[in-house]
């Protein structure tokens, strides 16, 4: 089975090939390059599954493919390489599966709707998929950074797909700039990692998490340069710098503002961004270098707290939104908050688990929303919908499955993963890290809101009476929409069964497959090792309410109860033939929520005042000092030039005279130095 890894580069290169094809000859291809994209992502999917099977058989792969800049002597090398371990293999399958389904769905969403610019669209999708897959298999931080940036570029291209309208280009710019703001920190972090460790490899003996661990354990501390800080402090700083990129890409507070705006892009793109590629990249990066973060309790605490806060914060904003995709956008932010919470709370497996289930059900929800939007002739306002249940059953049932998963209702996939996230936070919080308890509380509260807004969305969209003519007679959707929905619907239901911790604890049966999956692989990259690290360096211990079993059950019951309560409230308020807006009851809070806590305004204000003053200072400096120097130099050279050019008479004799004088001076000089005239 070792052959599987020889084809790993093809996983990345196939979508890239489809990108080139769509870009080059997309115009003359049937369906504007869609078929090439489907074939490429399908091929990637097959190869990924193959690689996953190989990993399941105990194989791993960590190889440098190409060194594109090698220093001399002791300096470091910049390389491209592949790292396929259980985490990467799982992510490969998720990404290529979602990308494949999104390509198929795009046939229905873009091609059937008679869009123009399809080659550009499919080229963007192909490059997006390729860069995300490249990011997943990257074996060093610099390569990861490069693909990270490519992902950002592709999101910019795709969000701004309808660039002739007003909103999409602006949303694309916002997404690009906000994530770029985070990426600056990431870039500085990459440089810091290189400067500190001399390598950016993720795995292996000489990888930077291993070196950092060794340094903290008191071994080999001379090899690394911590710039005079205590190693722990410095590692925290570096980790937080890299975390800047994560916060930007994974839309965590305070850099989440780009994501709701990114809904301006085509819906399949939203699905891709939210489920598998861009936003997942941030969380995946933390999981990838978890061995590094696990060394720093401060960084873990910040991650956990930011995650919990984001989960709650975004969930409250999702409660009042009118557009179906807006609700989904805030739910994405909220769910990624959960993943960050899990990572920060030492729940590496929980985060990975939630990443996986979320990829499935969020892709499902977005594609379902896309299907609804097709049916509604591209009207996204939920208040114009209603009663779509009978008219589009496939969409309804799959969307319902996704919603149940999102809300975390037993036994859908979201329940298992979210429950594990909260359990990890609770257990580690009880074990002596009270900060995690606060994060846990926020996450728990967010469960209620999640249940509420999810079912508000479902009821408003599908239940009740149709509220507009379009909703009464929706546009039909084809197989290319229904097929991906079905696949994802099934996955959203069953994906949680790979890791049913409460059931396992209850029955003693050994069914925690994901635990086993992540527990093997390359040395130093296993979940057990991470568990040791968090215990050793961050002081994470597990505490229980009563016994372990009661804690598990309590946590599960709490989150399920809250989710059900939220869903029930939504049922009561909105599952009526003619629902009305209840937001007015919220009073001034409603305005606050509608305006997203004035995050945009506050950031614009910040950018305005701070950036404007900095810019003014820079302008002054530029005009005064730089231009002054430049003008001064130019006037000096102009003046001297106008003088010196008089030498340039064009008369040969004058040139000869100058030559002669020069020779005399030279001879005199050399002669005096050499003592010829003694």
């Amino acid at each position: 089975m070792a052959g599987a890894f020889d084809y790993t580069p093809a996983i990345v290169l196939l979508p890239f090939l489809s990108f080139l094809l769509a870009l080059g000859v997309g115009r003359s291809m049937p369906k504007g390059g869609a078929l090439a994209g489907i074939a490429a992502t399908g091929g990637s999917l097959l190869l990924s599954v193959w690689a996953m099977l190989a990993v399941a058989n105990g194989g791993t792969y960590n190889q440098t493919i190409y060194t594109w800049a090698a220093g001399t002597g002791n300096s470091f090398e910049l390389t491209f390489g592949l790292l396929v371990d259980p985490l990467a293999a799982m992510m490969l399958v998720i990404v290529s599966l979602i990308a494949f389904l999104v390509h198929v769905f795009s046939l229905g969403y873009m091609n059937d709707e008679g869009e123009t610019g399809l080659p550009r669209y499919y080229a963007g999708l192909g490059l997006f998929t390729a860069s995300m897959l490249g990011f997943v298999v990257a074996n060093n931080l610099l390569m990861a950074f490069m693909f990270f940036e490519l992902v950002g570029l592709c999101s910019w291209l795709l969000i701004g797909f309808w660039f002739r309208e007003e909103a999409p280009p602006s949303a694309a710019k916002k997404a690009f700039l906000v994530t770029r703001f985070g990426d600056y920190f990431f870039l500085v972090g990459v440089v810091a990692v290189f400067a500190t460790f001399g390598t950016a490899a993720f795995a292996g003996e000489g990888s930077f998490p291993a070196l950092a661990e060794a340094a903290l354990a008191g071994e080999a501390a001379t090899e690394i340069n911590t710039f005079g800080f205590a190693p722990q402090t410095w590692f925290t700083v570096v980790g937080l710098l890299v975390l800047g990129g994560v916060v930007g890409k994974s839309a965590q507070f305070p850099l989440h503002t780009w994501l709701p705006d990114a809904m301006e892009g085509p819906t399949p793109v939203s699905a891709l961004i939210h489920a598998a590629t861009m936003v997942a990249a941030g969380v995946y990066l933390v999981a990838r270098m978890y061995g590094f973060y696990a060394l720093s309790p401060t960084a873990l605490g910040i991650i956990a707290f930011v995650g919990g806060f984001t989960a709650l914060f975004a969930a409250t904003m999702g409660v009042v939104k009118r557009e179906i995709k807006q609700v989904l956008a805030y739910s994405t932010i909220s769910q990624y908050g959960y993943m960050m919470l899990a990572l920060g709370a030492g729940g590496y497996i929980a985060a990975t688990f939630h990443l996986m289930t979320h990829a499935f059900f969020k892709a499902l929800l977005f594609l379902g929303a896309g299907s609804v939007i097709i049916a509604m002739h591209h009207n996204e306002n939920m208040w114009d919908m209603g009663g779509l249940k009978e008219r589009m059953p496939v969409t309804y049932w799959t969307f319902l499955a996704g919603s149940l998963a999102l809300a975390g209702i037993f036994p859908f996939s979201g329940f298992w993963s979210k429950d594990e996230v909260l359990y990890e936070a609770l257990a580690h919080g009880l074990g002596g890290t009270p900060l995690l308890l606060a994060a846990w509380a926020m996450g728990l509260l967010a469960v209620f809101f999640t249940g509420f807004y999810t079912f508000r969305m479902v009821f408003l969209t599908f239940h009740g009476e149709p509220r507009t003519d379009v909703a009464r007679d929706p546009h039909g959707v084809g197989w290319n929409v229904k097929a991906p929905l079905t696949v994802l619907g099934v996955l959203a239901v069953v994906a949680g069964f790979v890791n049913m911790v409460p059931v396992a604890k209850l029955t003693g049966a050994h069914i925690e497959f994901l635990h086993d999956w992540l527990a093997h692989g390359l040395g130093g990259l296993t979940s057990e090792h991470y568990g040791e690290l968090t215990g050793q360096f961050a002081g994470y211990e597990t505490g229980y309410v009563g016994s372990e079993l009661t804690t598990v059950l309590l946590s599960g019951a709490l989150s399920l109860g809250l989710a059900l309560a939220g869903a029930g409230l939504a049922y009561k308020l909105y599952n009526v033939p003619a629902p009305v807006e209840h937001t007015d009851r919220l009073g001034s809070v409603k305005t606050l929520l509608f305006n997203n806590y004035y995050q945009d305004e506050y950031q614009v204000w910040l950018a305005d005042t701070a950036a404007r003053n900095v810019a003014r200072g820079a302008d002054k400096f530029d005009q005064g000092v730089i231009d002054g120097v430049v003008n001064g130099i130019s006037s000096v050279s102009l003046f001297s030039g106008s003088r010196v050019r008089r030498i340039q008479t064009g008369v040969v004799s004058n040139y000869a005279a100058l030559l002669t004088l020069g020779l005399v001076a030279l001879l005199l000089g050399i002669g005096l130095m050499g003592g010829w005239f003694l």
Binding site: S653, L661, L668, G671, W676
Partner: protein, 135 residues
């Protein structure tokens, strides 16, 4: 043609040459050389070149083979020079190379007889006509 080293400003640059001469003389006066080695008695360089040219053994008094390379290169350089001279002598205005070489500068003399005050452009215009008419 009769501008000698006449007045003021024109003579001034000459002082640079005089200065160079003075510097050189100063330098040479301080220099000292051993007695010349010479080529040994009545060695005949010319004869050596002759022998070298026909590759006749060791009859020469001095090694003169270097001259042979010089001859070859000199031949090439002179050839290039004659080509260049012909190229430069060629008239732009349609006349062939042969006329430039065979009219013995008559054309130039004709022009000089017209005097330098006549406008150049006019001359340039009627030069080919005259050439075609006379010959």
């Amino acid at each position: 043609m009769t501008d000698g080293p006449d007045a003021g400003s024109n003579l001034l640059p000459g002082l640079a040459a005089v200065g160079l001469f003075l510097v050189m003389v100063l330098a040479f006066a301080g220099a000292s050389f051993p007695a010349p080695q010479g080529f040994g008695g009545d060695a005949n360089v010319t004869a050596s070149i002759g022998y070298a040219m026909f590759d006749i053994g060791n009859l020469g008094d001095v090694g003169a083979e270097g001259f042979l390379a010089a001859f070859l290169i000199v031949a090439i350089v002179l050839d290039v020079a004659i080509d260049g001279a012909v190229f430069l002598a060629k008239r732009e205005e349609g006349g062939s190379v042969v006329t430039a070489l065979t009219d013995g500068g008559r054309d130039l003399l004709d022009r000089s007889r017209e005097g330098p005050n006549a406008p150049r452009s006019e001359r340039g215009r009627d030069a080919p006509r005259r050439e075609g008419g006379d010959e």
